[in-house]
């Protein structure tokens, strides 16, 4: 039964026998029962659809119990080594990566990969997704060289299956570019970012999340190369897109706010940098668990700015 009125700006999602409205940030208190006893299949479907939605919205802490419940249900319905069960392990691992729980993510990816290779074969595109994600986990850990072989495997498999201009190939190419960028292999990284961007813009148009992520990364690469005007232009483009597509409170929006703050500081615009760091840090602290690497990095950046402001003008309050 539909519990919420349908009106412009209201998106509805049926989930675990509940209705969620998206007018305000989604949280557990907005969940209200709508069905008496949905079938296990309906429960599983709603659980993972809703968890995917929460993950995309950056509401990580609410996604975890849903993924865990979906995984238990899938294990009971299809068995521990079914492809669907492996997919849920993968999705929970992606969530753990975003939460900074890298060891748990690695264990889940390993198990999912084993199942996927056994049931689908070593060159299946789903296997390529797991290679992509294993590379992504290494990226999040800062182990860029360790992630490169995983990313190269994902590109090779998917390119073979889908051709060089498919958007899923572009996602693999962009992930590889970020791993090369982290190692200072800037020429190859820039060429790959541009290749991925061209595909995303052709397929999805200029206003898409994939475009925003790659503009942010290309901006960071330009900043590292000292091309600050170009970097700032790209950051501002990425930020405008993220604010429009994800909202001002999404942790991915905070990533670009932090990066733009670093750039502003580098260009001597300290007041602007301070305000951007404060916005980024507040979002990270609201959406990520305490001690998360992104919180730590952003806080250190902010503290360094405050210290330098203090050194240059000792009368400022600490």
């Amino acid at each position: 039964m539909l519990m919420a009125a349908r009106r412009p700006g209201t998106r509805l999602c049926w989930c675990v026998g509940v209705v969620l409205t998206s007018e305000a940030p989604m949280n557990a208190t907005q969940i209200s029962p709508t069905e008496a006893t949905p079938s296990p299949a309906a429960q599983l479907y709603r659980l993972h659809v809703c968890a995917d939605l929460l993950l995309a919205r950056g509401q990580y802490r609410y996604a975890e119990p849903l993924y865990r419940a979906a995984l238990l249900l899938a294990e009971r319905m299809f068995g521990a080594d079914a492809p669907s069960t492996a997919a849920l392990r993968n999705n929970l691992a992606v969530l753990y990566k975003y939460l900074g729980r890298f060891e748990e993510a690695a264990t889940l990816y390993g198990r999912a990969l084993e199942t996927a290779v056994k049931t689908l074969g070593p060159n299946h595109p789903e296997v390529a997704t797991l290679y992509h994600n294993l590379g992504g986990l290494e990226h999040a850990r800062g182990h860029f060289a360790g992630g490169e072989p995983w990313a190269r495997q994902s590109v090779a498999i998917r390119e073979q299956a889908l051709g060089p201009d498919h958007p899923e190939v572009a996602a693999d190419v962009a992930a590889l570019a970020a791993l090369l960028d982290g190692q200072g292999k800037w020429d190859e990284a820039e060429a790959l970012y541009r290749r991925a961007l061209a595909i995303f813009e052709r397929v999805h148009g200029p206003e898409h999340y994939e475009v925003a992520v790659n503009l942010n990364n290309l901006a960071a690469l330009k900043q590292a190369r000292g091309q600050l005007d170009e970097a700032e232009r790209l950051y501002r483009q990425a930020l405008a897109l993220k604010e429009k597509l994800l909202g001002a409170e999404h942790p991915d929006t905070a990533m670009t706010l932090n990066n733009l703050a670093v750039l502003c500081k580098q260009r001597g615009r300290w007041a602007e940098a301070r305000s951007l760091f404060e916005r980024a840090l507040a979002i990270f602290q609201r959406t990520l668990p305490g001690g998360h690497p992104k919180i730590m990095t952003c806080r250190e950046n902010y503290q360094r700015l405050r210290d330098e402001e203090q050194d240059s003008n000792p009368v400022l309050p600490k």
């Binding site: 299949a41 993968n90 999040a140 996602a171 900043q223 932090n258 990066n259």
Partner: protein, 50 residues
């Protein structure tokens, strides 16, 4: 008037597309219908001012 009614009935019968008559039930496995899609993560750069 009679022949005209008959003609109309025959015309309606011919209007039913062939594929409508030949449609068969398809069996889709439950797991395929509700299967989650594998999510891919994004490698996004976070700058450190170090």
């Amino acid at each position: 008037m009679e022949p005209r009614t008959e003609e109309k009935r025959q015309h309606n019968a011919r209007a039913i597309p062939k594929h409508e008559k030949k449609r068969k039930l398809q069996i889709v496995k439950l797991e395929e219908r509700i299967a989650p899609r594998l999510a891919a993560n994004h490698n996004e750069t976070l700058m450190s001012d170090g």
